[in-house]
Point group: C2
Chain length 454, copies 2
């Protein structure tokens, strides 16, 4: 019988993103957009995408295998496997069942969990489910494993440069270096059509970018308010930005992350003006009288808050922005890729720090929650996680596509989406050893994958 688990959280992580990428600056030029529209306007540097040999299943097969190997986890030690994704390849069969192939090999078919679905929030739902399982009476002493996998692609137009692709894996158990502060959690869920995928035959979403941004910021406000209330009830003192060392955001594009942190800063100012310094109080005073709606629309407020929050942004947010800026929107994996960036940039120095996470999924579902970090024991230590993920190595070994080749790839993928009876090029030359890739979809839509030998 397993004893009552303590300090449940993330023991280990790995990340995979396709090596195929396109520079945002090149895309800007190709699209005839004004200079800086994608790089400064969106705040994005580069975008990863799947070619015809990769998809959310292959990426997650790669990421799960890699985590098990690099942390030397016996597949029999996994008791729950949860997948978060909003990239639908089959409307009934879960991605989790594809991943079972990796566990069946060693005879472990006793693994709970399925796929969690709600836009970019599915990964957070999967993570919460795994943590709750470990803390529940039905826990059998084994590890949980969370997989977030998505390929974000958009129809030609303004949203296209906000794509991306990645899979993240997280091992869940007690005595973790990344511990949940379980009682500090504020959610905001409501019925909105800001981004959705009702055209079932197309991989592309229906997006109202402006509405989605407002929904994101409103949900952020609401979650932060609840998070602060819960903190105050629990700790008997008020919460402000200064009570956390880092803030990590779901990152559709970096500009929204900048706006979001500035928004939290404005929220602090509204809650208690002494939370911000005198210069900021003066700068923000003119916006005190704005209604909620006005405040979401005011460019002046946006500018003013970003300016006064700039120094704090650089210290508390910027270290988590690397991968989202380099890889793009990874939907369910986005928040955890941002967190991976923080681990990569700050690793051991994070011990003793509090990290606030904000997860957002259109439709909409959003939660703010927090971690307490500590170095942990090898192999489940902050420094080893950073080493295993090898973010620099993965970013360096990428292959740049021209915008023309990128667009050509997306055209091919449009035809392939939902199709049957085809073989791919089986060209794995751009992939690293150990990467899974799609070889064939047969006449019954069954998908076949191979693993590039090492």
């Amino acid at each position: 019988m397993a004893s009552q688990p303590k300090d449940v959280g993330i023991l280990a992580m790995d990340i995979y993103f396709p090596p195929t990428s396109v520079q945002q600056e090149a895309l800007e030029a190709h699209d005839g957009a004004s200079k800086g529209k994608y790089t400064i306007g969106l705040g994005q540097d580069c975008m990863a995408f799947c070619t015809e040999v990769e998809d959310v299943i292959s990426m997650s097969l790669t990421a799960v295998t890699s985590l098990l190997e690099k942390y030397k986890i016996d597949p029999k030690q996994i008791g729950r496997l949860e997948v978060g994704s909003e990239t639908v390849i089959d409307k009934s069969k879960s991605i989790k069942t594809f991943l079972m192939q990796l566990f069946e090999e060693c005879g472990n078919t006793d693994i709970e969990g399925v796929d969690s679905t709600n836009a970019c929030y599915g990964g957070t739902a999967a993570l919460f489910n795994c943590v709750n399982w470990v803390e529940s009476n039905s826990w059998d002493g084994r590890y949980g494993l969370v997989v977030c996998t998505d390929s974000a692609v958009y129809a030609e137009g303004p949203a296209r440069p906000t794509g991306g692709a990645a899979a993240i894996t997280m091992l869940i158990g007690p005595d973790a270096p990344v511990v949940f502060e379980s009682k500090l959690r504020g959610s905001h869920m409501s019925h909105v059509y800001d981004f959705y995928k009702p055209d079932l035959a197309s991989e592309y979403p229906v997006v109202d970018g402006k509405l989605s941004q407002t929904c994101y910021l409103m949900a952020l406000d609401s979650c932060y308010k609840r998070f602060c209330e819960k903190f105050e009830k629990l700790e008997g003192s008020s919460f402000s930005i200064s009570d956390a060392d880092y803030f990590v955001f779901h990152s559709p594009y970096n500009k929204l992350v900048q706006k979001s942190f500035a928004r939290l800063y404005f929220d602090d100012f509204l809650r208690n003006s002494s939370f911000v310094d005198e210069v900021a109080r003066e700068k923000l005073a003119p916006y005190l009288s704005l209604s909620g709606d006005e405040s979401y629309q005011s460019r002046d407020l946006e500018k003013a808050t970003q300016q006064v929050a700039k120094q704090l942004y650089d210290a508390k947010v910027q270290p988590s922005t690397l991968i989202p800026k380099q890889v793009g929107n990874m939907y369910t994996a986005s928040l955890y890729a941002a967190f991976s960036s923080l681990l990569h940039n700050k690793n051991s120095s994070l011990a003793g720090k509090r990290v606030v996470m904000f997860s957002y999924g259109s439709g909409l579902t959003a939660t703010m929650f927090s971690f307490q970090l500590r170095e942990g024991q090898y192999p489940f230590s902050l420094s080893n996680i950073a080493t295993v993920m090898d973010v620099s190595g993965k970013l360096k070994s990428r292959h740049e596509f021209t915008p023309e080749n990128f667009i050509q790839t997306l055209k091919l993928m449009e035809h392939r989406y939902g199709a049957k009876d085809f073989v791919t090029s089986k060209d794995s030359s751009l992939l690293s050893p150990g990467t899974y890739y799609l070889t064939q979809v047969d006449s019954l839509y069954r998908r076949f994958y191979a693993k590039k030998s090492g």
Copy 2:
């Protein structure tokens, strides 16, 4: 701060199925099938289906509203809402976010949970997630709410009579009349293409009926083996059919339920021949030498086991078969509709009984788990749940469609699936007061519902 919860399980339930139905006997005649093919061969009596004014969203809106009203639950008291479904209307936006409309009205937007997806297993995943949440450190003292909602429709052909439609709601919390035996749980998960939905533009699945049946029985064997092992480890004595009072199965069609119970009986015989009586031992002896594969295919074995297990089937299984036989396959709701049938038929007499549940989802994911039942306190009592569900009343007030009208309805639904920019007939004349129905899908695919006034 919430105290450590005890006896977590199902506090309350409600069920909704469309009042529109077709008799299997009439369908048999219309299809030119041999007499008894659907009624005896499949074991089905009647099938419910959605007309153009109902879908999985409207059914779940109806079922959630009904549960909250009938048990007098303040919507603010819900802290987690989980949906299980395999009927995809949108590939990104969850059904849960549609249901948030019911809670936003009273200002409760702090509700965790999303949709769980894997064929017919999603409801069980949602249920486990809710129970684990109540038992976790992040529980905030409020109720969990599980919704299973599906519309099962098939292309013309042999699978069509195995359709059905329903939504089930279950309220989750401590001190429940239906308590989970959390440590008794055996799962079997693997990668199979027995039933899946890869044709994204069609509502119909790709089905290999024979393979799916074998997968179901193999998963049943595997789960039962693990369930027995865990029981033996925990209790220090062996488990056999005699240790549970009722067995409830996921019910695509009743014949499979008959086969499944017979299979468990055969498993008991194989594990320890003294688990079965002398007559059965003699009858089953010739099949001892069959390999696993052979045993799944042997019609003689099937016949022999069903015969020797008949009396036990009538006592331990038959009381749970009413709604699945009358309504059809309800996918994620099927297992819980079977359990509702048991509550309906046996209500208070179930106090003190153990019920074994078998959940199966193609692809595949399966779990055997068990409940301990007790009368509980009103309104969360076995007898009140049976009263609230009013299964007899709902079955009696249905409207029979002719096979021709049923087929015509399905044709219309084929065109409507994934479509935009249309209004429905808005004809709610066949629906009970309080039922939600679809009125319009606009040019942006946004769906609008109305509630029939009471």
